[in-house]
Symmetry: C2
Subunit: 229 residues, 2 copies
DNA sequence: TGAGTATAGATGGTATACCATTATATTTTT
DNA sequence: AAAAATATAATGGTATACCATCTATACTCA
């Protein structure tokens, strides 16, 4: 088992990703190779390689001789991401309905039961985790690695910069309901309905997101000063 | 004007990309950092950074302490890429029909006229170029950078490993016809029709591709030996 | 005083050197 | 002769050193 986790480039990559997720690295902030490498106790080489990966994912912007800065995501960009997510989630659900893999369907159903449990306990954090798993399961069950990768990338963009949509009352219930509809359509083998249910779900998620996004869109508050690392 | 073209990492990246496109670097072949850096007269650092970019695009696979090998794409993978392309091209056409930007629509029309010209001259190479432009224009006109980027990536995967579908008689005519249908729908502002026309077009392109793909799918012939660079 | 300029420090880009791991060739052993 | 063990070479991973460019500060001069 050749675990790639002892590759430093990967460690640095994960560190920065989670730093962005936790809000330690804010949009617009620039990251210094030297300071990061010093802080993490590695050389600049793996840091630079991690930067290239982040750059390709669009999470940071790199200017020659100026370094990288954490990308800023606007409300409109979130909207655009969701437009893509809508058709891709639709495709995923459609494919899963066509494939009819019992194990995958079973997993979805299991997740839904866990979600109902969590909802009964008002365990928002668990709900959020299960929600993520639900979508990952569909992507994976589509048997299309490119779809999986692409959706992962979209999700990274969305989730790294936004607090989760589910983290507000009212939405969790509706969210569950929509998930059940998707699952039902998939189980029945109605691929067209599954696709539409998934698209409907994402459209609604976007609406909720947009209702919140203004709260978090504080472009003005972003400190443009260099190197807070 | 800070052109990024004097950054060596980018030069190396382009060199490898075009090498793969030209068939000089074949699927399964492994690439040596040292030999590439020697051949290009640069150090290993920019080569490694280029590798990371290629890795993120999925064009090469990297194994710790084993280096990178050019990814192999199978007929089935092409099919999966086209499934995604279908919904994304549909989304692009739909958005363009909604936006109704005169300049972009005009550009599409201009391209179609050029295409008719090229078709009359049986200029396959020009047709291929115009065809690419047609799709790029739609992606760009969608006003969704993520869509543009994602479709670019898919196209890279497809075009780098396959000879162009248009390069066979019969298809160019049908291709033109389908493009006209898309343009018509966009001009009329019928976004649903535009989406369907685009999806229909990609489905047909896939069919043609699949008819050819077996000819080029020679997994067995791939030399697995190391470092042909 | 303020605009322009020179200069010093910091930063990113690149090259080179060193180490760990892997692959290959050689030797040894049965 | 075949298989195992060992030595050697090649390769990728990382660290360090050097150079080019940028930024900011201080200084000059109108």
């Amino acid at each position: 088992m050749s675990d790639e986790k002892d590759i430093k480039r990967e460690q640095v990559f994960q560190y920065i990703i989670s730093g962005i997720a936790k809000g330690e690295f804010r949009a617009g902030q620039s990251l210094s190779e030297r300071h990061l490498s010093a802080k993490l106790g590695v050389s600049r080489t793996p840091v630079r390689e991690a930067f290239r990966q982040l750059e390709n994912l669009g999470l940071v912007r790199a200017e020659p001789h100026k370094g990288v800065t954490v990308s800023y995501i606007s409300a409109d960009q979130v909207r655009q991401l969701y437009l893509i997510r809508e058709v891709l989630e639709g495709l995923g659900a459609r494919l899963m309905a066509e494939i009819q893999n019992k194990d995958d369907i079973e997993k979805l159903r299991m997740l839904m039961e866990q979600a109902e449990d969590a909802a009964a306990r008002d365990d928002i954090s668990a709900l959020s985790r299960i929600n993520t798993q639900f979508h990952i399961t569909i992507a994976s069950a589509s048997n299309n690695p490119y779809l999986e990768t692409t959706m992962e990338m979209l999700q990274t963009h969305i989730s790294l910069f936004m607090s989760n949509t589910l983290a507000q009352s009212g939405r969790p219930r509706q969210n569950l309901k929509e998930h059940w509809l998707i699952l039902q359509a998939i189980e029945s083998g109605d691929s067209a309905l599954a696709e539409e249910a998934a698209k409907f779900h994402i459209r609604n998620a976007l609406k909720t997101m947009m209702r919140n996004v203004l709260t978090y869109t504080n472009k003005d508050k972003v400190v443009e000063g260099k190197h807070d690392y």
